[in-house]
Symmetry: D2
Subunit: 487 residues, 4 copies
């Protein structure tokens, strides 16, 4: 790979995919980031957690999120470029994910509002009844600055992994809508005009099957606040998305889909954002490598640029190899999702294949993003740990990636479940067979099957190593496939 | 290992070493940290970079470092407990390193002032002429709050790895002392009453052999400032040590040792702090595991503590295994150093063996510290990325560890040099043979020898994997040895 | 006045009062501040608004106020010294106010917790029923660090002046206690173990006469939180007292006194803190003068200390004169309060006299505090506007003084009411007559009477100038009286 | 006065002056502030002191001032609108001062860069030799974003009032330029491309007469830094201007005017900025009144807006009266300056009259600005002391006004000197006689004359009251004159 191409996200993507439809628009977007966006993004990060103006000066509750004004310019720019509308215009999610890649190369956190907006628009489009859809969807698809944002709020104070137990928000039906009462604890994009939220219908089962998915507007029909932001979380990174705690008090909401199918709708939502998380991870890898490379090309030691020292040169090559694998694995998740995102329960085999690939990609790319960001700091030496130069920012941003949308443990265990219940591994091996190294295919198959035969406790205990192996095998194979496709 | 013992640094060290001389004093020190120190340390970290008061209100240059007052209580506590004096009272560095372990379990950054003070006192003791030694050494060995601190300043703006090129500070002799002019760019423990600094005698060779080591007091005899702190660095971690940029302007200094042997004295100084860096890395690993464990024991999901979920239980076991290896490798470095720290050039074989072990330990434990801190954040899920709970602090602190006292690249290449020039690998294999797994010994030996036979470019390019393998092999072997010793 | 005596609060008070009972204890307290407290107080101010830890890491609501640990040392020191217990031990509030003077000389904001604790203990003592008193009062009078703190919460989001309209907190009786629901908007000393709060019994009149006063513990009997801190206010000063917004949700509380007399109890509480506000204002004046003086004595311009330049020397003399007047006026408020603080409705004439003096003192001393702090900044020139030297702190602290416990407008209008309804001005003129300058007495009397004869609108419009005149007249007269008393 | 007109700076100025040439341009500028500038300005203030990037990531000294990117948009907008060029295009300073008024209404601190740029361009224009002028002046007059900024640096660490003693910067002549060595301690607009600086020629007298004025570019001809920014000052306000400490090390500079006349050139520079300081003070008064008024019109208590409570209504009227007086006095300073700004020594009588008016305006308007900002905080009650609403910002900004460009003491003593040496009071009385209240004229004249007859010590001690009286008398008279002019 020509190392210089690593310095442009558009350039790298085009190199990987061979061609890039609508390249001019992507180059425009990239160019905006280079000339204006980068400096804005840095200043948002340095400003720390945004402020919440809870009351106006007269004591009226307003819950405004206060960013420096340039934030809104930066945010709206991506919506205009198609962060949400492009999916519905094209019937394909690929352009939105590519835009996300570019965004995340410059500001990982900013990709979150776009992702949760898309993850709101899709269930609204698929599951909203006509009236609700007509009233709200067009506002999310606007191409100007009046566009509405979305948000997806599931987690409560007890924790995010065990939703069946910890969602305590209660929904009561009142005529054509529902009233929600409860608290959401990690509410990304707090302040969004719409949110999809998980809640339990009063009296429903104390398990995931008691959960339903609702659409929650920010304001009631009378203009008053329909949810309250208790506070913003002081995160170490991703400061371009306001993450808050949200209180629902008799908050008006609209049921999406069938009440008893809520858990499936929740998982569909998570699928979209897991793929986005992978996209963001790969973009951040590229950015960290690009920055480390630029530094190493200019930093002189022992008479030559450190990028030309054999040990570092080798490390750079290895990092680029991992980047290509990570991109290939993630891009396969995008392609598969594009074939199934309009499905509703009961799902096809393709859907289960997609799910496994999404788990593998989420797990493995997030890990790579963290390791790459850490390595980039080491390349910068002492400058890497100074707040002044922002090299450390990529590690702060990266650390959210293994955690958001399910920790590594969650990906492994859910992936395991997809293999056990849906034989998703068999679908995957079949899917990859044509391009896989035969010996690697055989060994990996054997390892996975051996794992699945273990008793439950032991299976879980040993799952991580096998899951990692499967991810690496898939990534390597898909990288070869992309390479062949380009020829 | 009894997991509960992980929660106490004294407890863990005792378990690893079988016995702990002067245990009562260590338990006292630990108890102070638990009741008072922890809260102080947290508040120092949250307060961010300390302030530099450059001028008093009348415009007089004063260069005071301003911390919350509790900082000084915390800092002086460790000096009283023996951070420096114990080495000279016992003729052994081991007690000082153990105290450092306890310190770093609670505050990684605070271990730095103790380390650089020890690294100042030792060359002063070994190489200072009688007058200089008599005047300054007793002040560093005081057991009360009037103790003087030290500091070791080598790096300049061009970078820290290639000192031969980038040290531009010039020394001119004037009677019994020297005048130094130049700038130090990463000056840890800025504000110390004494510092050892690298400088080039006017006209000396433009290589490491032109460097000499000098002792620099903070104040001149007339009470005026002898060096100036230009500013403090805004680091993401280790805020318990003020790191600054220092200007030397006709600053009075005293030559340590022979002028032309400076580079050896500089390397001796680095040896002490590399071992300290390893000690700090292991202590931080333990702390991160302890915190993750405590959390996991109390966090409930799917009906039981997450520490009892098989996948996480396995991860904890693996982390503890790595911790034991890291401790064993580091402790060997301490033991070896204790046999050679009073040597002066030319050095014995033991010294070269020590150097290789120190490079391996520095390289491998720092990496483990970062990975463990990262893992601890993941165990905490979303809470891990909030500034509020301080879980992320250990990663911020850890990130300095691979970088301080030489990046991974530096350790690998310097270790390689010790193997090539001094056959330090052969010394190491001999040293470990009795306790090593025979097959692992054979394989590792073969790998190292193969590497050393490669042409230079390729040798450097391939060095990392072999170096890592050698570190793991050594750590595993030394862990077995410690285990046998305990029986 | 010997200017050097301005540098010690104990010294100045003794000079003003001629003698100081229990002087040794005050000198001890002052000495603690000089050696330890000053540095702690500065670091608290620089650390900004304290943090609220709303949830522990497991998602359990805890509402802890997080200060650097030294804060608690500083805070508890004043309670031990008698900030609350001394009033009950001596039957006199004077020692507590003197202790407050010393506290406020060093940290204006810290005097607030002591004041609101005293303002909680007094109504509890006077109006609590036996059971409530027995259960809670002893905890507030402890002389060790287990002492409970109090707080006085009246204001809601609509504003603090018009309590009759804006208190929307509702109280429902349930057996022996009440349940409160509502929100307090400026809750000083949030986190206190006890608070007295204004609430409206359900169905009571929508005026001040519908208000009652309740005692609210922080924890319920079962250990759970009885009130919630929504957030801490980001104030520009007085950071030594955490000011928050408090949510009452079925919060258990105990009625103090007769339900329908709540407004009188609220006003009694305000009386105590208004006098404290005056004490704090005078102490801050002294501190600002002391700092300006110290600076001016050392700053040289045109060949001599600026304190010796005639223009500045004159300004210092004038400031000291105002300080003496402010002290005299405030001390009279303390003396008068000491004679009436145990009264309950209906009140004596002395009570009404006290009220007018308290309004005058609150109004005039707060103004003087601000002007003096501003002047001290000007004396420091450019250094005065730098955060670094903390000169500007006194202005930030001072700015709360005219606003807390009623703005200037409030003092003027309430003072006017006391004059109209209770002829408090006649009581005052009689009270001062013996020591007043006859002509000034005559003129002031005429001005007040003329004002009171005006129609209401015009009376209010013209009130400020007359009220200020009355304050100055009283302050001058009382200063003469103190001077005579000393002879 | 129609109160609503207070909410627009253009509106108020037009009302005061009767007509406003080029009104459309001013309305455009105001409109930009309302729609974009206000939010930028707030975010700059909240971001605190800007950062100084002293070194780039490769260790090269760069001394960049880092603001959020929107700062530069805001800054350049005023230059484009004519902050500097308009003076040279029109031959009148009035348009630049009016633009400053609008700027300062929105951001007091931002008016500083414009002022010091103008104060650089004027001496360059008047005193630069042809070559220097040709090379540098056009760059300061550009109407696009490539415009160069100026700065005026006099004060050193010893203090700003006694320049004769405390300027220790030394200038040595080397061919056509000079080399400067020294340090400037309060360097407003650090980072400017040009600065005028006071320095002492080597060997010149140790008094103000040894000072000369030099033009100092930021970069040398070879592109390297010509001065170094040691650090930025952490000011409590005016964060829109970076104020730093500047080190001159063999810095190339060009002499302005005759070497021995430096002190006159310095005073001319101060004249321009004193008038600007007055303009800024009046604008800030208007802003604070406008904000207080808006709040009071919407804040309800006792059933009606507090702006309609008689006491507050009266206060507002009084504040508006003072605003009109302050404007009239300041505008007279502008008018007088417009007639004399091109004079060089020796000066006309008009120049001395101007100087006295400038001292009176600087002194009195700064005081009014502080008092008005303080009052606006009180009007806001508790909300006034919260950082959240920014009401306190105007007080933080205002506090610089009495101090910058000479403290009150300085204005009084320099004004006194102008009266003694130049009989400037007689010129002033003659200048005002036509519009003055005869009795006030007589009394004020008598007071001034009595003061001037006192012995020196006593004259200085008593000067403040008389000087204040003279300022009020002048302001009242000039307000009447403006009123007549409008008819």
């Amino acid at each position: 790979m020509d190392l210089e191409s690593l310095k442009s996200p558009t350039g790298f993507v085009k190199l990987m995919l061979g061609e890039l439809p609508d390249e001019a628009a992507f180059l425009d977007y990239e160019s905006w980031w280079e000339t204006e966006g980068k400096a804005i993004s840095n200043s948002i990060d340095q400003a720390g957690t945004p402020w919440l103006r809870m009351f106006d000066v007269f004591g009226k509750r307003v819950d405004e999120i206060l960013y420096p004004p340039a934030y809104w310019t930066m945010l709206k720019n991506g919506y205009r470029a198609g962060a949400v509308w492009s999916a519905f215009e094209n019937g394909s999610l690929a352009p939105a994910y590519l835009l996300g890649y570019l965004t995340a190369f410059y500001d990982t956190g900013l990709y979150c509002p776009y992702t949760v907006s898309l993850s709101t628009a899709i269930p609204l489009y698929k599951y909203g009844d006509d009236q609700v859809k007509e009233r709200f969807l067009p506002r999310m698809l606007r191409k100007d600055d009046s566009v509405w944002q979305g948000a997806t709020w599931m987690t409560e104070a007890g924790g995010g992994s065990d939703l069946g137990t910890f969602v305590e928000t209660i929904a009561d039906q009142v005529g054509d809508h529902w009233l929600l009462n409860g608290e959401k604890y990690f509410a990304s994009n707090a302040g969004a005009e719409l949110a999809v939220v998980a809640a339990r219908r009063r009296g429903a089962a104390p398990s995931v099957h008691g959960l339903s998915l609702f659409l929650l507007p920010r304001y009631r029909q009378d203009g008053s606040l329909n949810y309250f932001i208790r506070r913003l979380k002081d995160k170490i990174g991703t400061r371009s998305v306001p993450t808050g705690e949200v209180e629902l008090r008799d908050s008006q909401a609209y049921l999406l889909g069938k009440a008893e199918q809520g858990v499936y709708l929740i998982l569909e939502t998570l699928n979209i954002s897991r793929v986005a998380n992978s996209i963001g991870s790969v973009a951040l890898m590229q950015r960290a490598i690009a920055d480390a490379l630029s530094f190493a090309q200019q930093r002189i030691a022992f008479g030559k640029p450190v990028s030309e020292h054999p040990l570092l040169r080798r490390q750079i090559e290895e990092r680029v190899g991992l980047l290509e694998q990570a991109f290939a694995l993630t891009w396969e998740a995008v392609r598969l999702l594009d074939t199934v995102w309009q499905e509703t329960p009961r799902y096809s085999e393709s859907y289960h294949l997609f799910r496994l690939v999404a788990h593998l990609a989420k797990y493995w790319t997030a890990e790579q993003a963290v390791q790459t960001a850490k390595w980039a700091m080491e390349v910068h030496g002492g400058m890497g740990v100074l707040a002044e130069y922002g090299v450390e920012r990529w590690l702060r941003e990266a650390m959210i990636l293994p955690i958001w949308e399910g920790t590594p443990h969650r990906q492994i265990l859910d992936g395991l479940e997809a293999m056990q219940r849906k034989q998703a591994h068999e679908l995957l091996f079949r899917h990859l067979a044509a391009d896989a190294d035969p010996q690697a295919l055989e060994e990996t198959t054997a390892q996975v099957e051996a794992l699945l035969r273990l008793p439950e406790e032991e299976r879980e205990a040993q799952a991580e190593a096998v899951f990692r192996r499967l991810a690496v095998f898939s990534a390597e194979t898909l990288r070869s496939r992309l390479e062949k496709d380009r020829r």
